[in-house]
Symmetry: C2
Subunit: 263 residues, 2 copies
């Protein structure tokens, strides 16, 4: 039996482990089903900054995997939770998409204009425009608390690279000299600590699973958890050594896929 | 007589010297008219990256000042000229507005899609969107020659700060690690060298006039010309000393306005 099967909880990345966009990764989904048969606790943690849990549940259903809402922790929801711990019903201006707005509102926050806001929340938006960037710039200059859902600079879409949340972070930094006060998504430990809190487990009881050394493995290390790299995403047998030396982090375990835990 | 009136040519900034947006600065316009009476050569040099000379001529007419096309050198036209010296009929992908496209096409260049381009030209665009940023990102990643019309990070619009061309430069830098190969606008000496070329004068024969120490005065110093700071724009009697120490440049002359050359 694989030694990681002694862990009580599995903190699992979505993209590159369970699916690629709308396409399921069979061996990832199989792995999750087997973990559940063993009674393991599972939480899916993703830097996705445009989708609410409700939207993401639809994707999991299309993958043939039923998940509860409390098994999903996207950067959208994690950001809304994080703010709620600092301030109940915070006034928030966000650059984000409806999925982020949905999670902020569900957490009790109020979406307001930039000049009334207590928080600037930067998340990616495929509807970004000059007006929205102007408002974000002014919010940033006003000095209010500034959070980013996730730090990803480029997202590898099916037809090529597209800007991630980092596009807005970089633009604001260049214009104002300000970086986010808090970045919630991986490799930040903020989203990982929220995952532990939701699972009700401590870091030594979980394994963090992902396909990216600089994102998932680094986040796992940040909370002191053991880490499992799977090769169903951006890291491959060919590039793994260069990835390890480039990012200076080494996963505790490497497997071809999540279901290989059971081989 | 003011010693600068011995110069043959005047390289004059527009915003903060001649006008503020659509509002004329009377003492600036008076000054230009008197320079012309003395037979001085004049060229207006601006970092404006959204307007063609044709568009800007309309503004000067509304200011009550007739200008020839060859007295106008905006960053739009300067960029088009600069590329033409490197390559005739270059294939250009640009983030810019119709004013920039107009100047690129007048200079003989061809506007193409990002994946056919030889040049990426970044200029501000009030119609910026996710699709345009995606294309700029991909052009940038492809390694093609990358020019920016001007480096301005924030533009002080009438209702508050708005993003300048620097917003796109910063976003691309954050995402790709690339900065422009060439920045054309002030304080770059590229646009100033084009001004000298159009005037047919050398640096010692001109004075560079502007309201911003970090932009106009720095650009004048970059070509070794004498510089005149006027206090009709962002620099004032109150902030001039802090501006000088902040930017590490001192103008050769300071006057309340351009027409004070004649007092």
């Amino acid at each position: 039996m694989h030694p990681l099967l002694n862990k009580k909880g599995f903190v699992i990345d979505i993209d590159g482990v369970i699916g690629r966009g709308e396409s399921p990764i069979k061996k990832g989904i199989e792995g999750v089903k087997k973990l559940r048969e063993l009674g393991k606790k599972v939480i899916f943690v993703s830097n996705n900054s445009t989708r609410s849990r409700r939207i993401m549940m639809g994707r999991f259903q299309r993958f043939g995997l039923d998940v509860d809402e409390d098994e999903l922790l996207m950067a959208t929801y994690a950001t809304a939770r994080f703010i709620a711990k600092e301030k109940r019903s915070a006034k928030v201006f966000t650059t984000g998409e409806p999925g982020l707005v949905e999670e902020l509102e569900l957490a009790g926050h109020k979406i307001v204009e930039y000049d009334e806001a207590e928080y600037l929340v930067v998340g990616s938006n495929r509807g970004i425009n000059f007006d929205l960037m102007t408002k974000a710039l002014r919010a940033c200059l006003s000095g209010i608390r500034y959070l980013a859902t996730n730090p990803d600079r480029i997202f590898p879409a099916e037809d090529g690279p597209v800007p991630g949340t980092g596009m807005i972070i970089g633009a604001l930094y260049w214009m104002t000299g300000r970086k986010p006060d808090v970045v919630v998504g991986k490799p930040s430990k903020i989203i990982m600590e929220e995952a532990l809190e939701i699972l009700g487990l401590s870091a030594e009881d979980v394994v963090v699973v992902g396909d990216q050394i600089d994102v998932d493995i680094k986040a796992g290390k940040a909370i002191g958890a053991e880490t499992l790299l799977v090769l169903t995403g951006v890291t491959t047998r060919e590039n793994i050594n260069s990835m390890i030396s480039r990012f200076g982090e080494k996963p505790d375990y490497v497997l071809d896929s999540l279901s290989d835990l059971f081989d």
